[in-house]
Symmetry: C2
């Protein structure tokens, strides 16, 4: 392929072929022993390091074209590879090789009254489609997680990163050959044609799940067009609620970290809720700290009395994921009101209560319907590595299948296994 | 409501209201203690028994209208309630009350390097939409499973069963009031309007998952129209493979049971694969048994040499779920060929190998990509009760979320819980 111009119908045919090949390869990969998969990942790492110069050269061409097309600032930075970034990709592969293999785990095998034994076996999903934007390192990261979990993958990166992605894909392909696995275990869509995404999202027969990685625009397009199930990662409108029984030092430390450690990540706090019983001492400490960090405060009327310089929060603010040094602050009368606020305005991503009160913490944990619910911890912990998953392919804001950070296990499913001895049902 | 004629727009508004009410009720039900939920289920059972006469009277009117509309045979039988069937519904509720509550279970809580403890808590999905056909007992069964798993439900039965369903729903509503839970925890769509299903399937905000229960036509309509995730239950084109190392007595017993115990269920065997090494003794015994049972055999050329009266199987036969006394039989050269046949023609529902060979059984268990994979057991065991799930709301042929028989756990999800002590991320 690698044609620059082709018809939509040609693209659809190309992708259908890719899908069929992925499905066939997935049957072999699903049964590859753990040792072979780990050997493969280490081989990819080795080849990546050995070909660092080639990869950087291809990346330089991508960067040149992107700059000519007017890409700048953080977008250009995301696209750029450096020797360190190539090294980090290789390190990531080695790390995934070291993770436990989820495939084949049998759980809950129990004898039933009829005499049959019934349990569950963890197996790969089959074929995973990854659609991502400009970071070329996703090519190696996502392929590694799919390979380790026994899934074939079809990767579609941003067209501006195509040369970089193909250079990385060539390393993976050579490592697959070296390890005796089919090269179709990992395929990169090698056309810059925008119709390719649309065609990919129609392959219901040959792709089992789509994982989009990128901004809201990409994810919404994928959700609206896909006929394949999507592991979706939507807004992180995260809350910290400082309960009346909070330890003030802990409240201040967590509320500051949840906002200011990094502004641009989905686990960043966007609204701070504070019990009226404790609002004065908490906000009088936090106000100047946020001010020093350059965080704009948008507060309710009572907040504005306690934080000088706070502007008026509108209804819109409670819904907003700023991903920026802006924070909405609201004083509430009770735990109930805090939970109601979170259910009304939140996005079900990550919410935390600060309290020393056991009953309040238990109620918050049970009742708040979010993918991560925390007690006395910063919402910025919402991350697969911090959760001990060893890796993360994304964070799911769905309820079905997986919720919250998605590691290797989220790329698998469980089938029932039944062992009898000539058993018949009466 | 209960209007016979209304516009599509009115129906959409009514259903939207139903959805909002279900969402609100679900927040309360999600936190209802196990004891209260069990008390509720026992109260429904008691009221059902007390009002058996009323329910049967309403059912008689449904039956009369249905007969007048030309419904007959098994369709009319499915619609009919008897004192015994009402009693069985009540017994079912008592049984669900006795099952362990999946909600609130915390698993895998482990301390991470940063000091936070991370685990998972099992929680209800929220609101479940059940779309079913003529059996009125589904109203009680499905409501019970949703209630026990802490989910609000919206039930849409067949229009021919509307009066029966409303009579049962009234019992549930009164029991909810008695137990102090909102009546909107279980709502029956009380219009015969066909547009109601379409409108229900658009409520992405207020319904978390749709469970269709019925024939292929219903399920396909739901899948194609739904904008809400569906737990789908498609074909059961199930296989038994008699390996060369099979015990002949076990093979004959299982292959006979898998076909002949019941023809019309999704776990019934539709194709029998037999290793050429053992085909003669196996098929010479089974042939006359199937013949005596009135099972038509459609076989490959070699099968037809061993079973007199067998007709020629066409390519189409290998794909067919007969749900009838018809069986496709094929002789294969190896385990590999059997697995390939199952992947090519099967539907990923339930497949079984008969063998005394450990390696063959392990390969079959690992490599066959079906929701239930069995060794030396009849495919007719594919059932939530036989698997020890205690109940079954359906059998999923999806890979994501749940696969195979779906019990209470399949109606829940897991959220992450994080416990810190003023923990901040570095």
């Amino acid at each position: 392929m690698n044609k620059v111009v082709q018809s939509e119908a040609e693209t659809a045919v190309d992708l259908k072929r890719l899908g069929r090949a992925a499905r066939a390869a997935s049957k072999i990969l699903a049964n590859a022993p753990t040792g072979q998969k780990n050997e493969l990942l280490r081989a990819v790492a080795k080849i990546l390091r050995a070909r660092s110069d080639t990869i950087l050269r291809e990346n330089a061409i991508d960067l040149e074209f992107a700059a000519r097309d007017g890409l700048q600032g953080p977008l250009l930075d995301r696209l750029e590879l450096t020797p360190e970034r190539v090294d980090a990709m290789a390190d990531g592969l080695i790390q995934v090789a070291g993770l436990p293999d989820p495939v084949g785990e049998v759980s809950g095998l129990r004898r039933q009254p009829s005499g049959i034994e019934v349990g569950r076996m963890r197996v790969p999903l089959g074929v995973i489609g990854i659609i991502y934007e400009s970071r070329p390192n996703v090519t190696a990261d996502a392929a590694a997680l799919c390979l380790k979990s026994g899934n074939a993958s079809i990767l579609r990166g941003g067209s501006e990163a195509l040369r970089s992605n193909l250079a990385i894909a060539a390393c993976i392909r050579d490592a697959l050959a070296e390890t005796g696995l089919p090269s179709e275990c990992v395929q990169v869509v090698d056309t810059a044609d925008r119709a390719a995404v649309g065609a990919l999202l129609q392959l219901t027969e040959d792709i089992d799940v789509i994982v989009p990685r990128g901004g809201r625009g990409l994810i919404e397009r994928v959700i609206s067009e896909s006929r394949i199930p999507v592991i979706r990662h939507l807004d992180g409108n995260c809350h910290v609620f400082v309960d009346k029984a909070a330890d003030i030092d802990k409240a201040v430390a967590v509320a500051y970290n949840a906002k200011c450690r990094r502004y641009g990540i989905c686990g960043a706090m966007e609204t701070l809720l504070v019990s009226e019983k404790i609002a004065a001492p908490v906000l009088e400490q936090l106000g100047p700290m946020y001010e020093a960090a350059g965080v704009e405060i948008r507060g309710c009327a009572r907040t504005r009395e306690l934080i000088s310089g706070a502007v008026t929060a509108t209804e819109e603010d409670w819904y907003t994921e700023y991903l920026a040094p802006v924070l909405a602050v609201r004083i509430v009368t009770s735990l109930d009101e805090a939970i109601e606020h979170i259910h009304e305005y939140g996005s079900g991503h990550t919410d935390s209560i600060i309290t020393e009160d056991l009953s309040a913490s238990r109620r918050f944990l049970r009742e708040v319907d979010s993918s991560s619910v925390m007690v006395n911890a910063s919402t910025q912990f919402a991350d697969g590595f911090e959760y001990g998953l060893g890796a993360e392919i994304g964070i799911s804001t769905d309820k079905l299948h997986v919720r919250g950070p998605v590691g290797l296990e989220g790329l698998t499913t469980q089938k029932f296994i039944v062992i009898g001895d000539g058993s018949v049902r009466s």
